[in-house]
Amino acid sequence: MKRFFSVLLIVMLLLVSITACQQPAPAPAPSDDNGDDPAPTPDPVDEGLDTLIIALSTDVTTWNPYARNQITANAVHMHVFEPLVLIDENMGIQPGLALSWEANEDASVWTIKLREGVTFHNGEPFTAHDVVFSFDKVLETGIGWVDSMSTIGSYRALDDYTLEIVCSTPDALLPANPLRNLRIISKNTHEGQDLEHLEDVVNGTGRYRLVEYVRDDRVVLERNEDYWGEKPEFKNVIFRTIPNEATRTASLISGEIHFSEVINVRDAQMMENLPNINVVSSPSISPNMFVMVQVDGDPSPNSPNPMVSPDGSNPLNVRDVREAIVRAIDVDELIDVVMAGYATPTDSLILPGSNGFNPNIKRYAYDPEKAMELLDNAGYPIQEGGELDGYRFSITLDHQERNAIMATAVAGYLERVGIRCIPYTIPNAVVWDHVRMYDSYQSHFLVTSWSNPAGEAAMVAKDTIYSAPFDQRKRDGFGGVNRGYYVNEELDELIELALATADWDERDRIMQEAWQMAHDDVANFSLFRHDNIYGVSTELVFIPRADSYIYAWQFRLAD
C-alpha cells in the first residue's frame, strides 16, 4: 500500500515539475497554431496580419473531392482544387481551368479549350488527360456527385488542351453543372492508387495548397505562389472547426478567430454592440420549398400522421386549396417575428438575377379572407361535430429540425383559416429517408429548401417541377425532388426545350414562361430564404458571395 502511494506521489511530482519547467516560457497569444510546425504562427493582434483564421461550423471530413457534396466542404476544397468553370460573386459563369467552351446547335456536343501553363501544386502541368482521369474517378467512386455526370455520354481529350464531351441528352447547362462542380485532380499523382490515396495526397491547382489537416480541428493552407490567376491577399489561411455556436461567438469576441460563419440571431444582436466585431448578413441562395402531394386518394399511405378530410379526398390535389394555403400565411410578419428580420421574402424558387427569373411572378399575397373563400368554394367548408369539428381538413407539415419554429408558425396561420396543421419534425438522421421519392411516401405537406447556385431556372425546373407521376417516375434524372408529384406534360416539353437551348436569352424566355405555368398551378411555393449571418473582426472587410461560399479571397484588410 505504501508503495502504491509512493508511486502515485512520484508520478504527480513528475507532472508538476514538467509544468513548472514550462512555466517560464513566455505565454504567447492565445492562438491555435502548431508551434513545432513549418506553418507560420498566427497572431490576431499582430500588425502585419498575414494569417486569416476562419471558423466553420462543420469539418471538411474528406479530401476526396467527389465523396461529398456539402457547401462548407465544397468551399474549403475550392481553395485547393479547381473546376473547369468558376462562378463569380454574382453567380456569373467565368473561365476556370477551361478558357472557353462551345456547343453545337442542340447543345449535345461540347468542345472545351483548356488553360495552358497551369501547374498542380507538385509542379506537374495540368492537361486534358487530368480532366479525363477526374471524370473517370467521379463515375467510379463519386458518391456525393453521383448524379452530376448523368447527361454525359462520353468524353475524350482531342489534344493536351482540348476536351470533347458528347452528351447522352442535350444539356445546355453543362458548364453550370457538372463543369462548375467537378474539381480536377492530377492523373499522375493518383493513377492506379486506391481511394485512401485521395485522402492522404492532396494535389490541386487552386490558389492555396494544403499544409496540414487535423480532422475535426483545422485545415491549414498556404498561398500557391505559382497560381495562374490573381494571387490572394493572405499568405496563410486556417479554417477551424468549431461546431458549437456559442463557442464560435466566444472565440470571435476573444480574438482567437477573425471570422465566424453561421452566427445565431441572438448572438448577432449582441455582437452588433461590440467595438471589435462587425456583423455582416446576406441572403442565402436557398429559398424554402413547400410541396403538397397532388394525387387522388391517400397522398401519404406510409405516414404516421395521415391526412384527414371529410370525404376522404385529397384537398391538396385541388389547385385553389393550394393557393389558399399560400394566401393564409403572412410572410412579412413571419420574417419579422420568427426570423427576427434575418430573412428575405421570395416569390418563387427562382431568385432575381438568375436565368429564367420572371419578374411578373408574385407570390399569392397574404389574404386570409380570400383563402377562406377559396376553401369554401373548393368544397371544404368548416365541419361541425365529428373528428374534424371546427376544421375543414387536417394535414401534417413535415420539416427538418432547423425549420421547427417556422413550421410551427405556418401551422398557426393555417389554423386561422380552418385547416388543422400538425407540424412534424423529422429527426436529422433520417430526413433523407423520410422524404425519398417513390420509396417513403410519408409526407403530403413538406418543407425543405432548394438552392440554385448556378443561376439557371432550367436546372431548378428539371429537378423540382418536371413531371413525377405518383406511381412511377417518368424519366430518370428528371423531377428528382418533385416531392409534390406534380404532373404537367406541357411544362415538361418547355423544360426539355430549354435544356437543349444554348442561347442564354432564348432559354431565359422559355423558362419565364415555364415558371409562369408552374406558378399558375401552384406546383410548389416558397416563402423566404434565410439570411447568412457572419461575424467579422473589424480588422477585416468581408464581401459575402451570392452563392454563400466562404473563400479566403473574399476578405481584405480594413483600412
Binding site: M1, V146, D147, R215, R240, P243, N244, I253, R473
Partner: protein, 321 residues
C-alpha cells in the same frame, strides 16, 4: 488467480459479443445512411450502386456475420463520412481525449481525496461545510453550463485561457500530445477542469461519508493514542479503509470520462473521440458508431477488471476467486 483470469476473460468475451449484437442491430435499423451520402436528386439506379458498394444490399444476418468476422481481425469497415478505416479514426483521436482525461483524473485524485478526507475528518468545521456546499454545486451543475461559464469567465472576460481548440502538440515518449507544450497546457486546462468538477464532487462526498464512519472506529482512537501523526492517521489508517467504494466509482468515472466526454469536447471544439461519436450518430456513420461502442465497452470491461484486482491490493481480505 489463473482461474479468476480465465473466468474474467470468458465473461469479457461474452459481454463484447452481446454488445456487438445490440450495437449492430441498433445502428442498422435507423434510417438508410446511403440517402445521407448521395445527392437528393440521385436516381434509384445510382442509389442502388452505392448500396451495393457499401455491401448494404445483403441480408442483415449476413452483414452481421461479415461485421463479426472483420471485427475479430480488428477491422470495422470504412467510415461513410471520412472514407478512412473506422478504428484508425477512433485511435487517431484517442490521444486528444486521453490528455484532457488524464489531467482531469489527476485533478480528481488530488482535490477529491484531500478535500474529501478533510471534510470527513473535521465534519463540523466551517471549511468542511464550504467544501460540502461546493460539492453539491459540482454534482448538480451540468457540464455544458459549467463549460460555457468557464469560457465566458476565463476565456472572454479575463482572457487567461484560450476559448477553444487543441493547442500545439509536442512529443512525449513518441506520443503526440499538447501536454508537451506550455501553450498546449493552457488549452487543456479548462476542458479538464470542466470534466473533473463533477467527479471531484462525487469523490468528496463518497470519501467524507466513509471517513466519518471510519474515524469513529476503535483502531483510529488507538492509533491516535499510540501517538501516530495526524496525517499518518488520516491518510494511512483511515483513508485506506474507505477506499473500496471510492475505487469502484473512480473506475466507472474514468470509463465515462474517456468514452463519453462528448459534451465537453463539443463545447471546447476539442478534436477528441466523444465528438466523433456524436457526429457519427447524426450522420448514420455505422462503421464508426459500431467500432466506437465496442471500443467503449472493451474499455469498461478492462477498467472493471483492473478495479477488481485493485480491491485485492487494497484489502487483502478480498479473495478474487
Amino acid at each position: 488467480m489463473i482461474k479468476f483470469l480465465i473466468k474474467r476473460t470468458f465473461q469479457m468475451a461474452l459481454v463484447l459479443l452481446v454488445v456487438s449484437l445490440i450495437v449492430f442491430f441498433a445502428t442498422s435499423v435507423i434510417g438508410n445512411p446511403v440517402y445521407n451520402m448521395v445527392p437528393e436528386t440521385a436516381s434509384q439506379e445510382q442509389v442502388d450502386r452505392v448500396i451495393q458498394q457499401l455491401g448494404l444490399d445483403r441480408p442483415i444476418y449476413v452483414q452481421y456475420g461479415i461485421f463479426l468476422r472483420n471485427a475479430l481481425r480488428g477491422e470495422f469497415g470504412r467510415s461513410y463520412v471520412f472514407y478512412k478505416p473506422a478504428l484508425g479514426l477512433i485511435l487517431e483521436r484517442f490521444p486528444a481525449t486521453m490528455e484532457i482525461v488524464f489531467v482531469a483524473m489527476i485533478m480528481t485524485i488530488v482535490f477529491g481525496v484531500t478535500l474529501g478526507v478533510y471534510a470527513g475528518a473535521k465534519p463540523k468545521s466551517k471549511v468542511s461545510k464550504m467544501i460540502m456546499g461546493g460539492s453539491l454545486l459540482g454534482i448538480s451543475l451540468p457540464a455544458f453550463w459549467i463549460g460555457m461559464v468557464f469560457i465566458f469567465l476565463f476565456g472572454v472576460s479575463l482572457r487567461w485561457f484560450p476559448v477553444s481548440g487543441r493547442g500545439p502538440v509536442g512529443t512525449i515518449f513518441g506520443i503526440e500530445t499538447s501536454l508537451a507544450t506550455a501553450r498546449g497546457w493552457r488549452h487543456v486546462f479548462l476542458p479538464s477542469l470542466t470534466i473533473a468538477l463533477q467527479n471531484i464532487a462525487s469523490i468528496i462526498r463518497l470519501l467524507r461519508a466513509g471517513m466519518m464512519e471510519v474515524m469513529k472506529q476503535d483502531y483510529i482512537k488507538f492509533a491516535k493514542a499510540k501517538g501516530a501523526g495526524n496525517l499518518k492517521v488520516l491518510y494511512q489508517h483511515a483513508l485506506k479503509n474507505t477506499l473500496i467504494p471510492v475505487v469502484t466509482i473512480f473506475g466507472l468515472q474514468l470509463g465515462s470520462m474517456i468514452a463519453f466526454t462528448t459534451i465537453t469536447e463539443t463545447i471546447y471544439a476539442w478534436p477528441g473521440m466523444g465528438k466523433l461519436l456524436i457526429d457519427s450518430i447524426s450522420s448514420l456513420d455505422r462503421p464508426i458508431v459500431s467500432a466506437y461502442l465496442l471500443f467503449a465497452a472493451s474499455l469498461f470491461v478492462v477498467i472493471n477488471f483492473v478495479v477488481d484486482i485493485l480491491y485485492a491490493l487494497i484489502d487483502p481480505r478480498i479473495d478474487l476467486n
